[in-house]
Amino acid sequence: MTPRYSAPRDLVGVTAALADGDGVVVGGGTMVVPDMTHGRTRAAALVDLSRAGLAGVTAGADGVVVGAMTTYTDLVEAGVPLLSSVATGITGGPQIRNRGTAGGSACYANPASDVPACLVALDARMRLASAGGKREVPAAGFFLGGFRTARRPDEVLAEVVLPQLGNALLGYVKFKLAESSWPIVTAATVAVPGTALRVVVGGAAAVPVVVAVDRPSAGSGDPAWRDHVREAVHTALDAAEPWSDVLAPAAYRRRIAPAIAARSAAHALEEDR
């Protein structure tokens, strides 16, 4: 069965095409197209965002607005905090970076991916649009589970708003089994001066997990601080739905998450020097 295909010229056209609720949104196509090729996704209708004018990064009063069709390459070129460094490490090389979008990755919501935890760490706001209107959902409430988000089938993610970070320091560490592997555990750290570290762990649970971590008083190698991080991460993970895939079981993800969180914190704090 060949799906209906449309490539609307603006957001109104996109939301109209999605109104029936049976459409599959295609951003860069790096997830949906292989899924269709292999029969994992069977769509009645495809709504292609490539002509809808949703690409681009703009600085607004309330933060940086990232259009849903902004590619990883665009993010690197615009120097968007945290997301630009994440984008340089996206597996798949230039072909994927030139097509893949952070917005698409957020909507795909693979727990074993870079973007979800980063958006939560950045306190991003997800702007969703439908024929009935627009709404804004905080990233922390957008990810509901593995491959599940708050986006309704008749909605499209139009923009992601990233609040101003002030003079916060950022760190990001991704752990993979090998170069071709999906991320197993990621950790993004936001260090706002004078406050505890905000570390968001990805991949270790079905959704990103927020962990408040004290700043290390004797360096990130201090065993006492490491114990504190382990306890904080494990307490946060205990409250979350575990995640497993073919590459790594939940127990392994949980086991290494504190080390990845600590490295991410160290990465953020080292930018100080």
């Binding site: 069965m1 170069e179 073919v246 590459l247 392994y252 290494i256």
Partner: protein, 794 residues
């Protein structure tokens, strides 16, 4: 190595691959590039259960789907095609067998087994229609683990067998019990080698074209063994061999997977016969990844003296070969057992082997052919002995290697190693990797929380095998033909999977004939054009393809020299053929162009060439020495003419918080005797090492409890990428074989087991302070972390 003045085209020169430009510019023609008029596309409907009885196959919906020309069930296929003949029949070796069908009729024994096929006008239509074929199964209990499959109450794959064991064999000679009792130390261990696969860039594929008017079948195939495939199709389809032509011209990697014997070979030919149209089937990556390459469990005991000398080896092997296949893969574990004592003087060996079937897709032939497992196990055993005795692993190897002056040497398991210098390889690799320096740095790094390890892996690679009564042949045949213009066509029975033996054979022919390499055209992989041959496997192509090409080229050269000497009016022993001319040895100004001599022979046969048989063509077979099929007093035969050897050193850094192993350096000291083309040897060796590194660290075929393959794409089956592999450094040693034409030994397989062993030993070395004992491969980060936790809990 080539002297600086020699051209790259000489034997020993690194001539560039002849098809390199065509490959790089996309002009090479592979099976999927053939698009004959009226071609249809096939799709295979595969079992969704690991073990079951087929109750019904409903084809109505598929037959009514757009573009569908044929839906074939197993029952209907069995009316037109017999069983697929075995490459190596287990019954011929005293084992259990079963009929292998192109489509299953009554029972299925693994998820993915072919049960029906759909032919449609487009690949998409065939794919969609295949999803509409409804197969109803009575699900039967299944078993995925070989040791469970050996239990008395385990589900049986083949009810007519007494159990799930294809065959049980014993290998080795001597009194191991007495030797172990007399040993100063006895160490034991269990090692598990996970299921990995070969992953050629081009998957398997076949294009069959049945010409009903002439009753002739042409098959373009991505296959290593065109002549064997012709015989197989003649047998399974009841056709005359002479009515079948197999063409395998360009193949995008094989690694053993594309040895003949797969059900789809007969199937696609049958689909073409039944539809009367060309039918193409190209495997999907998910299907390629079903094929296993190896999976074994070893329980070994080794006895050694206080000075490190190993005196006895006992090993019990359980080899999981998945479901039985007509392909050669099921037979690989025999070589795991036979190769086990490797290049060491181990006088007493007792090895037991059970080859066991399970409800998984078959293990197919794969680079290493079971020998890789022997290297992994033996090299682990040597390291454990070293650890037990407090000796350096390099020193224990040195004390156990067969000395260079003791060849030919017959091992306890019966292999007659032709030649080698294993201590020489050890010295080279230790020097190149900077072994002493690494040992000196390790302690200091450990204080700073870094776990650096170095590991060694020796590999003895028996090559160019011959198995009596099978199509595993230790000889091959080549025709060298010179035309009236002096151009040379070489038609050979060996085929190239992409490794470049066509270039190597052209170098040999050009050198032997004394003509420029550009004059030489190679024809391979066409049963209508090439002499009867056996394709490529077992590192045979340059040994027997190169050997037979040499003999044939010398015949043609002799003819040119004879006529040339007559035309130059000098005795024949005063002429040579070189650089495209026949010339007087001590007076190069007196020379005739080879094309002029060729034309004289073929156009003046009753004049200047009178009395010389006017044919510039020779077909010769070459049989290397050192193969002996007369069983000795212990019943051992000697199927390999040459034994390449290599010593591998891996340097790793292990992240003890995550279990991740990072490769810092890798050196392979390699000895395959004379190298016809060192660049091509290195290309093959690097590929084999990368395959070994992948199976040592990241590659793993994972099955769900229901027998479904879960790692069915390259995001879940993790091949090494450039960033995972350091520069693979090569050092060469040349110990010519006394038993082959040019002193060359097999090249292309060596690397898999040596890489696995070197990495495993390096990881254990890195984590020695934590008491970690490696128990298998792959050493994925979760597996390494589990070993660290296990050691901490002890």
């Amino acid at each position: 190595m080539a002297a600086p003045t020699q051209p790259d085209s000489a034997i020993g020169g690194s001539a560039r691959k002849r098809d390199g430009a065509a490959l790089l510019t996309g002009r090479a023609v592979f099976v999927d590039d053939h698009q004959p008029t009226g071609m249809l596309h096939a799709q295979v409907v595969r079992s969704t259960v690991a073990h079951g009885r087929i109750l019904s196959v409903d084809t109505a919906a598929a037959e009514a789907a757009p573009g569908v020309r044929l839906v074939l069930t197993g029952r209907r296929a069995a009316e037109s095609a017999g069983p697929v003949p075995y490459f190596i029949d287990p019954a011929a070796r005293g084992g259990n067998r079963t009929d292998i069908r192109c489509l299953q009729v009554d029972e299925v024994v693994y998820v993915g087994q072919p049960v029906a096929a759909v032919v449609a006008e487009t690949r998409r239509q065939a794919l969609d229609a295949a999803a509409l074929v409804a197969v109803e199964y009575e699900v039967l209990p299944h078993v995925l683990d070989a040791e469970e499959a050996m239990l008395p109450d385990a589900p049986r794959l083949y009810p007519e067998w007494p159990g799930n064991v294809v065959m049980h064999n014993r290998y080795g000679t001597g009194d191991t019990d007495a030797a172990l009792a007399a040993a100063d130390v006895v160490v034991s261990g269990e090692l598990r080698i996970g299921r990995s696969t070969t992953s050629p860039i081009e998957p398997r594929g076949y294009l069959a074209s049945w010409n009903a008017a002439e009753g002739k079948l042409t098959v373009h195939a991505s296959c290593q063994n065109p002549h064997q495939m012709r015989w197989m199709l003649a047998t399974s389809l009841g056709l005359d061999e002479g009515d079948i032509r197999i063409v395998t011209a360009k193949v995008g990697g094989s690694f053993g997977l594309k040895m003949q014997g797969h059900p789809e070979e007969t199937l696609v030919a049958l689909l073409s016969i039944l539809t009367g149209a060309p039918v193409k089937w190209i495997e999907d990556r998910r299907e390629t990844l079903m094929a296993g390459a190896r999976q074994q469990v070893h329980r070994f005991t080794v006895g050694a003296m206080a000075d490190g000398r190993i005196v006895a080896l006992v090993d019990d092997i359980v080899a999981d070969v998945g479901a039985l296949t007509a392909q050669a893969g099921w037979a690989m574990p025999n070589m795991s057992a036979t190769t086990l004592p490797s290049g060491y003087l181990v006088p007493d060996c007792r090895i037991g082997l059970d080859i066991v079937v399970t409800n998984k897709p078959p293990v197919n032939a794969a680079r290493g052919f079971g020998k890789d497992a022997a290297h992994f196990v033996m090299e682990r055993a040597v390291d454990i002995v070293a650890h037990e005795l407090g000796l350096d692993p390099a020193e224990v190897r040195r004390r156990n290697f067969i000395p260079a002056d003791r060849f030919p040497h017959r091992t306890s398991t019966g292999l007659n190693i032709d030649s080698g210098d294993f201590v020489g390889l050890l010295d080279k690799v230790l020097d190149e990797v900077g072994y002493a320096g690494i040992r000196a740095r390790q302690g200091g790094l450990r204080h700073r929380g870094r776990y650096l390890g170095v590991g060694l892996g020796f590999e003895l690679t028996p090559e160019s095998s011959d198995s009596p009564g099978t199509f595993v042949s230790g000889f091959d045949t080549t025709t060298v033909r010179m035309s009236v213009t002096g151009m040379v066509t070489v038609l050979t029975g060996v085929t190239s999977p992409g490794g470049g033996n066509d270039t190597g054979i052209a170098q040999i022919v050009a050198t032997e004939l004394g003509v420029p390499m550009e004059w030489v055209e190679l024809v391979q992989g066409d049963t209508d054009r090439c002499p009867n041959g056996f394709g490529n496997f077992s590192g045979r192509s340059m040994v027997v393809g190169g050997g037979s090409a040499t003999l044939a080229a010398r015949d043609v050269r002799d003819k040119l020299a004879l006529l040339g000497s007559r035309m130059l009016d000098v005795p024949v022993d005063r002429v040579e053929v070189a650089d495209g001319v026949v010339r007087v040895v001590d007076d190069h100004s007196r020379a005739l162009a080879v094309p002029d001599v060729a034309r004289a022979l073929l156009t003046r046969a009753f004049a200047v060439a009178d009395g010389i048989e006017p044919v510039l063509e020779s077909t010769r077979a070459y049989k290397p020495g050192n193969i002996d099929h007369v069983p000795d007093e212990f019943g051992r035969i000697q199927p390999y003419p040459t034994y390449s050897s290599s010593l591998h050193a891996a340097v790793v850094d292990v992240d003890v918080e995550t279990g991740k192993v990072v490769l810092l350096d890798y050196v392979m000291a390699h000895d395959c005797g004379t190298m016809i083309n060192p660049a091509l040897v290195e290309g093959q060796a690097r590929g084999a090492v990368a395959m070994g590194l992948g199976s040592a660290l990241s590659e793993q075929l994972v099955f769900g409890e229901d027998g479904t393959l879960l790692s069915d794409r390259f995001k879940t089956y993790l091949l090494p990428r450039a960033g995972d592999v350091p520069e693979l450094r090569m050092v060469h040693q040349v110990t010519p074989s006394p038993f082959t034409m040019h002193g060359n030994k097999g090249a292309g397989e060596a690397g898999v087991g040596g890489a696995q062993a070197a990495v495993a030993n390096a990881v254990e070395d890195a984590l020695a302070a934590l008491g970690v004992r490696v128990r298998g491969v792959p050493l994925t980060p979760p597996a390494v972390l589990a070993l660290i936790d296990e050691a901490a809990a002890r």
